[in-house]
C-alpha cells in the first residue's frame, strides 16, 4: 500500500524517466531519420516535464499577483526557463527537418541503413 502511495506522489519523476528512456531507445534503434527526430522530441518533452514539475509548491496557486491578498505561489523560475528551452527544441527540429529534405534529394531515401549501404558501395 505504501508502494502505491509513494508511486502516486512521485509520478512526475517516473513519467519523466520513462519518457526519456523511450525517446533514447527510439533514437538509437530505429533507422528511419524522421523517427530519430521524433525520438529527440520525446526526450526533450520528458526533460521539460521534469524541470517544470520541480517548481511545484504544495498548496500554491499560479504566480500572478492580485493586489491585496497574500498567497502562496508556485516557483515561476522553471516555467520561464523552459520557455527558452522549448524555443531551442523547435529550432533544432526545424534545422534537422531541412537537413532531411536535402538528404532525400541527394540520396533518394531517408533510411539510415540504406544510406550507409549506398556510401559503402561507393567508396
Amino acid at each position: 500500500m505504501e508502494l502505491i502511495i509513494s508511486i502516486i506522489e512521485h509520478i512526475n519523476y517516473i513519467a519523466a524517466a520513462a519518457l526519456f528512456v523511450i525517446g533514447l531507445y527510439t533514437v538509437l534503434t530505429h533507422s528511419n531519420l524522421l523517427k530519430k527526430v521524433i525520438g529527440i522530441n520525446i526526450m526533450e518533452t520528458s526533460i521539460f516535464l521534469f524541470f517544470v514539475s520541480i517548481g511545484y509548491v504544495s498548496g500554491g496557486s499560479s504566480p500572478i499577483i492580485t493586489l491585496g491578498e497574500k498567497q502562496i505561489f508556485i516557483n515561476p523560475v522553471p516555467s520561464a526557463l523552459i520557455l527558452t528551452g522549448i524555443v531551442v527544441a523547435v529550432s533544432i527540429t526545424a534545422y534537422s527537418l531541412s537537413l532531411i529534405i536535402r538528404l532525400h534529394e541527394t540520396y533518394g531515401t531517408i533510411d539510415m541503413d540504406e544510406i550507409m549501404a549506398l556510401r559503402g558501395e561507393k567508396s
Binding site: 527526430v37 526533460i47 524541470f51 520541480i54 522553471p78 534545422y95 537537413l99 544510406i115
Partner: protein, 498 residues
C-alpha cells in the same frame, strides 16, 4: 584605460555584426570583407585591454541589470576567461583572413554572407560560454554553439556534408539534453542557478544528497563528453571534421571542442569543488578514458588515406591528452591541460590550413598523391612540417613543452603508467606524420622534376599560415609568456570560494 563593460561590448559587437551582415551584403556588396575585418579588429583590441586590466587589478563579476547574485545572471571576468577570450579571437581572426579567399571555391556565391553570419554567431556563443557564471545561461550558449557548428559543416552542399552534419546534430542534441537533465537535478537540490551560490550550498549539504549529486554529475559529464569527443563517444568527429570546408574544420577542431572542455572544468572544479569530486572518484575514470583515447586515436589515424580524416583522428588523440591533465585534479595537471589547449589550437590550425592550401592548389586529398609536393609548395610544406614536429614532440616547438608539463604533472602524483602511455602515444604520432614529410621532400613526383618554385596561393592565404607557424615556434622557445598567465589563472579557478 578600460571599463567594466568591455566583455559585454565584445559580445554585442559580434552579435550586431552577425545580424547586420545579410542587410549589408544586399546593399553594399563590395565592402563586406572590410566590415568583417573592422568588427574583428575592434573586438580584439577590447579583449586585449580587458586582459591587461584583469592581470593588473584582479577579477571582477558583472551582474546584468544590477540584480543581486541570487536572482540575476552574472559574468565572471577573471584571468582564465579573459585569456581564453583573447586566444579564441586571435585564432579565429587568422582563420577568417585565410577563409576570405578559400571559401570562394568551396561554396556558392549567394551563400557567402550566410557563412559569415554563422561564423560570428559561433564566436559570440563561444566567448559567452567562456565568461558566463550562470548554469542556464551556459546551456543556452551551448545550444547556439551546437546549431551553428552544424551549420558551418552543412553549408557545402555535398552528400558527405549532409550526412556528417545530421549525425553530429543528433548526437549533439542527446548531449545537450543530458546536460539539461543534470542542471535540473542540481537545481532540485540547491534552488539556485548561479555557480558561486550552488557551490556554497553544495559544500554544506552534500552529505545529505550524495546520490542526487552523483547522478547529476554523471549526466552532465557524459553529455559534455559526447560533444567534446572523448574516446568512445567520438564517432561523429572524423566525418564532420573531414568533410567540412577548411576554415570550418580549423575552427571546429581548434576551438569548439576546447570550449566544451572548459565547461567540464567549470562544472567539476567551480560548482562541485575539488574535494567532493575526488571523494566521489570521478577523476580516476576520466584518466582511464583519456589514456584509452590517446592510444586508440593514434591507432585509427595510422590507417587513414585522406589527409583531413587523419588530422581529425589526431584531434581525438590530443583531446585525450587534455582530459588526462584535467583528470589528475591538481594545479600542475590543470595548468598542463590549459597549456596544451592553447598549443593544440595553434598546431591543429596550422595543419588544417596547410592541408587546405594543398587542396586549393592541387585538388588532391589522398596521402599517396603527395610525393614531391614539397618542391611545388615549399611554404605550405614548411608550415606543415613545423606543426607536425610540434605534434610529435620535437624540442623547440610548443608541443614539446606541453608534453613536458604533462609528464611532470603525472610524475607528481606518482602514476607512472600514464608516463609510459604518453611516450607510446608520441611514438604513434610520429608513425603517421613522418611518412608525409618524407614523401613531400624526399620522394620524386610522377609528373614533374624536383625543382623548387613558389606556391601559387593568394597572399591572404599564405600570411595566416606563416603567422600561426611562427607563433608555434615562439611559444616553444618562450613558454613563460603563456605560463605566466596560466599560473595566475589556475589557482583562482581551482580554489575559488574557499
Amino acid at each position: 584605460m578600460s571599463s567594466v563593460h568591455f566583455p559585454v561590448y565584445i559580445l554585442l559587437i559580434l552579435l550586431t555584426t552577425a545580424v547586420t551582415i545579410p542587410l549589408i551584403s544586399n546593399r553594399f556588396k563590395n565592402s563586406l570583407k572590410e566590415y568583417i575585418m573592422a568588427a574583428f579588429v575592434v573586438s580584439w583590441v577590447l579583449s586585449f585591454t580587458t586582459l591587461n586590466h584583469v592581470m593588473k587589478n584582479g577579477s571582477y563579476t558583472y551582474s546584468f541589470g544590477n540584480w543581486s547574485q541570487k536572482i540575476g545572471i552574472q559574468f565572471l571576468v577573471d584571468e582564465f576567461s579573459s585569456f581564453m577570450t583573447l586566444i579564441i579571437l586571435t585564432v579565429a581572426f587568422l582563420v577568417i583572413i585565410y577563409s576570405l579567399k578559400d571559401m570562394e571555391h568551396e561554396i556558392k556565391d549567394y551563400q557567402f554572407s550566410s557563412y559569415y553570419t554563422l561564423i560570428f554567431l559561433l564566436l559570440f556563443s563561444m566567448i559567452g560560454l567562456t565568461v558566463t557564471n550562470d548554469m542556464f545561461n551556459m546551456y543556452v550558449f551551448m545550444e547556439i554553439l551546437s546549431i551553428t557548428s552544424c551549420g558551418i559543416i552543412s553549408i557545402k552542399h555535398k552528400k558527405d556534408n549532409f550526412l556528417a552534419s545530421m549525425r553530429y546534430l543528433i548526437l549533439s542534441a542527446i548531449g545537450s539534453l543530458s546536460v539539461l537533465l543534470g542542471i535540473a537535478l542540481l537545481y532540485m537540490v540547491t534552488g539556485q542557478l548561479n555557480m558561486f551560490e550552488v557551490s556554497s550550498v553544495i559544500s554544506q549539504t552534500w552529505q545529505s544528497y550524495p546520490t542526487n549529486i552523483l547522478v547529476s554529475l554523471g549526466f552532465m559529464v557524459s553529455g559534455l563528453a559526447i560533444k567534446a569527443a572523448v574516446f568512445p563517444l567520438h564517432i561523429w568527429l572524423p566525418d564532420a571534421h573531414s568533410s567540412a570546408p577548411t576554415p570550418s574544420s580549423a575552427l571546429l577542431s581548434g576551438l569548439v571542442v576546447k570550449v566544451y572542455i572548459f565547461t567540464v572544468a567549470k562544472i567539476l572544479f567551480r560548482i562541485i569543488g575539488v574535494e567532493i569530486v575526488a571523494a566521489l572518484g570521478i577523476p580516476t575514470y576520466l584518466t582511464y578514458f583519456a589514456a584509452l583515447g590517446m592510444i586508440m586515436g593514434s591507432v585509427f589515424a595510422i590507417g587513414q588515406k585522406d589527409i583531413k580524416r587523419m588530422l581529425a583522428y589526431s584531434s581525438v588523440a590530443q583531446i585525450g591528452y587534455i582530459f588526462m591533465g584535467l583528470g589528475l585534479a591538481t594545479v600542475q595537471g590543470f595548468s598542463a591541460a590549459l597549456f596544451h589547449i592553447v598549443s593544440h589550437a595553434l598546431l591543429k590550425t596550422a595543419l588544417f590550413l596547410s592541408a587546405g592550401s594543398i587542396i586549393y592548389q592541387k585538388d588532391k586529398r589522398d596521402l599517396r598523391d603527395l610525393n614531391g609536393i614539397g618542391y611545388e609548395m615549399p611554404i605550405t610544406m614548411m608550415v606543415f612540417t613545423i606543426a607536425a614536429f610540434g605534434m610529435i614532440g620535437i624540442p623547440g616547438i610548443n608541443g614539446f613543452m606541453s608534453k613536458i608539463y604533462l609528464s611532470l604533472a603525472v610524475i607528481d602524483v606518482k602514476k607512472y603508467v600514464y608516463l609510459v602511455i604518453i611516450l607510446v602515444s608520441s611514438f604513434l604520432n610520429a608513425m603517421y606524420y613522418l611518412p608525409i614529410i618524407i614523401a613531400a621532400f624526399l620522394k620524386e613526383s610522377k609528373d614533374r622534376k624536383n625543382i623548387m618554385v613558389m606556391d601559387k596561393l593568394p597572399r591572404s592565404m599564405i600570411y595566416p599560415m606563416v603567422i600561426v607557424a611562427l607563433g608555434c615556434i615562439l611559444m616553444g622557445f618562450f613558454p613563460q609568456l603563456i605560463m605566466n598567465v596560466i599560473d595566475k589563472a589556475v589557482p583562482s579557478f581551482l580554489l575559488l570560494g574557499k
